[in-house]
């Protein structure tokens, strides 16, 4: 297996080198792709220096990125703290499910991004509107997966807990919640992804700061170097937060065989 892995790394590394060479080749050396379409490495570097130095779209890259990260974490947290308990409750109590499900079915087909104009109408271009739409987008996967998690708990596990005379609160904390945790984390991963997509879209539609705003300004200024900087930043932020979540998941699910493999 080790040789398969190293083969992959080797070819992967060669691919990356090849792409970089291709980038240089098409832009800097041959000029087949002009700077008006896609930035050369040098232009990318200059854009990066500019935004890190005197800033672009109102501030430096770090503060744009930090602002976006903050909003995503806030919206995501609110969504998880509301969505997971609701999903657990719906999974546990069929009456709650029957009551909420039809409303859910009506609202769910509306893509989260479609809430952006309404959120802007309600709350303007500031942070609140963004947190609201992130909440909407991240809420649904949290609810659905927590719900599925409860419904898929092995029946004997629940029976064993009942047989042991487990009281209600302990049942939720020590049985239902941990048993649904793998599914809950699946939901959180989707929620996190949705949070980033929604935030970037919301910032592209209207914002005063943030990576999406950088992209928006760069688009209006027809500034490909800065567009690339914005996109790379979005990618890195998404990657880092996903990695962090995976870390938390590995810790929380240390007991879970499936999560380890």
């Amino acid at each position: 297996m080790a040789s398969v892995a190293s083969r992959r790394t080797l070819i992967g590394g060669m691919t990356v080198i090849g792409l970089v060479v291709l980038w240089f080749g098409l832009t800097t050396f041959t000029g087949l792709v002009t700077g008006a379409r896609f930035p050369s490495p040098a232009e990318f570097w200059l854009s990066l220096k500019q935004i890190n130095g005197r800033g672009y779209a109102g501030s430096t890259l770090a503060s744009h990125a930090f602002h976006s990260l903050k909003l995503v974490l806030m919206g995501f947290t609110v969504a998880v703290l509301t969505g997971v308990p609701l999903g657990l409750w719906m999974g546990w109590n069929r009456r709650v499910e029957a009551f909420i499900n039809p409303v859910f079915l009506i609202i769910r087909p509306i893509p989260p991004l479609a809430w952006i104009p309404l959120a802007i109408l309600w709350l303007g271009l500031g942070d609140a509107a963004k947190i609201l739409v992130i909440w909407f987008s991240a809420f649904v996967p949290s609810v659905i997966n927590a719900f599925t998690g409860v419904r898929n708990i092995d029946k004997p596990i629940l029976e064993a807990a009942r047989m042991l005379g487990t009281p209600r609160l302990r049942m939720v904390r020590e049985v239902i919640l941990p048993a649904s945790l793998p599914m809950i984390f699946t939901g959180l991963r989707l929620s996190l992804q949705a949070s980033w997509t929604t935030l970037v879209a919301a910032e592209l539609v209207g914002a005063l700061v943030g990576v999406g705003f950088v992209l928006n300004m760069a688009q209006q200024d027809i500034y490909p170097g800065m567009i690339l900087v914005g996109m790379v930043t979005v990618g890195i932020l998404g990657w880092v937060t996903t990695l962090l979540l995976a870390r938390v998941e590995r810790r929380a699910l240390a007991w879970n065989v499936a999560a380890r493999d």
């Binding site: 596990i157 029976e159 064993a160 042991l164 240390a254 879970n256 065989v257």
Partner: protein, 265 residues
Amino acid sequence: MGSISFRNVDKVFGHGTGGVKALDDINLDIADKEFVAIVGPSGCGKTTCLRMVAGFEAASAGSVLVNGRPVTAPGPDRAVVFQQFALFPWKTVRENIELGLRNKNLPVGERNDLVASALKLMNLETHVDAFPHQLSGGMQQRVAIARAYVLDPEVLLMDEPFGALDAQTRVVMQEELVRLARHNPRTVLFITHAVEEAVYLADRVAIMTRRPGRIKEVLDIKAVRERENWDSHARIEDVMDLESFVHLRTHIWKSLREEKGFKDV
């Protein structure tokens, strides 16, 4: 004290015309500290009998009594050992065993003593902090048995507890269970489809018919076992070689074979 009584118990699954009668007029009395095994073809409702004593299912007619009182809900006085172990995968061995004691609100000191003795009883001392997935099937079932035993239940309900184990592990577990049952007798209701296992372990064996399940015959094993002194043999294969054992086993086999559909098992 822990007696179990089935009085004219029927069980129907589903409603109205779509209902399927699973159990038909079950009558069985299990005395305190008696080990009774129920054998029968697949789908005969033997597990349903156990689940009614556990309080997971209600009888459609008749009554299921434990110590003369009707069963209404599951509880730690009737500990269950499940075929799929049903350990909590997110709890260590110790935490699994401890949960029932915590539910009883026992003080920590007493809890620790009881857990320690249960661990010792099932030879689990070296695996206290392991998670279930780190253990073999046999070890997992030891934990499940310890989790049940530690509660000091009036009745122990075992639903094909060794059904998911490989043949060798199964034999070891059977021997251990005999050791436990003889030294520390409990009222046990043991469900199995393995005839030899039933004869080896139980004081009495109840044979059930095909669906709708009825009790066809109850055999007194204990009398034979004591008369022939089975317990002087340490190993299961020695017991299984005894003429008296073979005789009982063959009798049950024949009785089961008469049930149409046993060949489907």
